[in-house]
Symmetry: C2
Subunit: 322 residues, 2 copies
């Protein structure tokens, strides 16, 4: 959580003019998002977030994300809505970096979700899936199952350094995922990163989702699996069945899961745990000591992988359905 | 600019209850202030800044700062106004650190002030001095002239490492300041740190001052000298006479400087340059490499010291008056 790019009035004033916003009433860097710099901007025209895209987000992919947010907002889903300037452009440049102005959204994220939040998050995810139907853009899941084995290449030593024997377990998981990864499940736009910090609540009700920069086209139920990983474990990485059941119930109240989606949930969860384990492992080993942003602990997801790897995982997930 | 303390709903919810604010609509860490963590909080009751006091601010001094902001606000000066909880307490504790809830202020600071901003800042400073009259609290200027020589002890090597020969010049300055420091000038509450990042403008008009954590009792004209140092030099540390004249004119439009204040301005400016040189030098030498907050360059203030040390400094400042 940091602000990497310093925006002065020399950068801001032309932007205010281009968007016809009037004078800035407030302009503050906010500690939100790990990948980009975000600024809270208020003018007589309203409240906005100015995002300056830093490392990681590929510029060529930005139009997909911008158009997706516009589509979702136009289809009733509460998400940041990119604004167009007087010439119709949504993508701007600030300090030689891409930037976008989006609507400011009311709501607060929760650090320790209660079951009621999980239910709301499940409902929000299902609303997102329905709102995304028909979106003409397409982005492959660049962190999907086909690339996991490649991501682990050269990382066995790091994995064993974190936890002796972990590399062998990961290799087994990767083989099992490659062999049993479900095909033919309902596909569509998925958020792919709907962790609690990307969901806003107002008075404990789902209010909005943010941070669509991993969004892509993949199995909708995989998005449910990502949420089960991030909403249904406690700080000690213990599975919380009530949270998981609430998330699934909320989701199904809007979009019921099909039989194949339901029976694939355990392997999808194992895959989602693998995806976050792998990116965290790579961040962990590639982040220099003393860096501003401390990398997240890969062992959190090693623990979740172990949970979903266990022989009883499928039965435990089945138990969550009414 | 960073957020050092992580506030979760477990800390925030009791605070919302104690202040009777209702549910949080927005809660975001903001990149404002170097010394403390600040959060933008909006509820149905209004907009606030929650400040968590980190290193440097002495807890025993917080009541002075809180009472001063309350006094200034009650006397018509736009500054953060500390809020009291249902039991009348302004000082709170969060994560075992002192904290306070203050009003959110509209406005933006400017990185490169124009002369019009300098005039407005001068007016704002004079308004602050008038509003502070009669404030019953008292805090000595713990970074005032009497302590400068002691602050430089043991730092000669660091000064010469930055710029060969600098230590000898500083020693000369310290002796001159001790010998000629003006006595008997009008005293009162001073901000003591009214740099451009601590002044908010709306449509280029003075809107508010923030960050009162160096405020103290000292010569009012010393505050003008601090502002001349921070508003009337360009990025290359060259003196900007138009900026300085505008700042003085703005100040005098509200509170005319007395003859002794005016004739002391050069030595006060030299002293103010020394104060910021010394704290920056100490920060520079004591900050570990790779720290999150990069220390500010002491040589900026060495250059300003050189300007105010020059034989023509007094005449150049005299020229600024109509």
């Amino acid at each position: 959580m940091a602000v990497y790019t310093d925006i002065t009035e020399a950068e801001l004033d032309p932007l205010l003019k281009a968007f016809g916003l009037g004078a800035a009433l407030t302009f503050k860097g906010i500690a939100e998002g790990v990948e980009n710099s975000n600024f809270f901007l208020e003018t007589p025209a309203g409240r906005f977030i100015l995002t300056v895209y830093e490392r990681r987000v590929r510029e060529s992919e930005l139009p997909y994300f911008i158009e997706l947010m516009q589509w979702l907002a136009a289809h009733g889903f509460p998400c940041p809505t990119p604004q167009a300037d007087a010439e119709g452009r949504t993508l701007q440049r600030l300090r030689d970096k891409p930037a976008a102005l989006v609507t400011f959204l009311t709501g607060v994220s929760v650090r320790s979700p209660a079951t009621a939040h999980c239910r709301e998050a499940g409902m929000g995810l299902a609303r997102l899936h329905l709102a995304g139907a028909g979106f003409p853009g397409y982005r492959e899941n660049t962190l999907g199952q086909p690339v996991w084995a490649g991501m682990f290449e050269g990382q066995a030593g790091s994995a064993d350094a974190l936890q002796p024997g972990l590399a062998a377990q990961i290799a087994t998981d990767l083989a099992a995922l490659a062999e049993t990864w479900p095909q033919g499940l309902p596909q569509g736009v998925i958020h792919a990163d709907l962790f609690p910090d990307n969901v806003f609540f107002v008075a404990d009700k789902f209010a909005a989702a943010i941070d669509f920069y991993f969004a892509c086209h993949d199995a909708l139920a995989y998005d449910v699996a990502v949420c089960l990983n991030s909403w249904a474990f406690d700080q000690a990485h213990r599975f919380l069945p009530d949270h998981a059941a609430a998330l699934i119930a909320g989701y199904q109240s809007i979009r019921p899961l099909s039989g194949p989606e339901r029976s694939s949930l355990a392997i999808l969860c194992r895959g989602a745990a693998m995806r976050f384990f792998l990116t965290r492992l790579i961040d962990w080993t590639s982040t220099p000591e003393g860096a501003v942003v401390k990398p997240k602990d890969p062992l959190e997801y090693a623990a979740k992988l172990a949970f979903f790897r266990a022989p009883d995982a499928k039965a435990r997930l089945e138990d969550l359905f009414p």
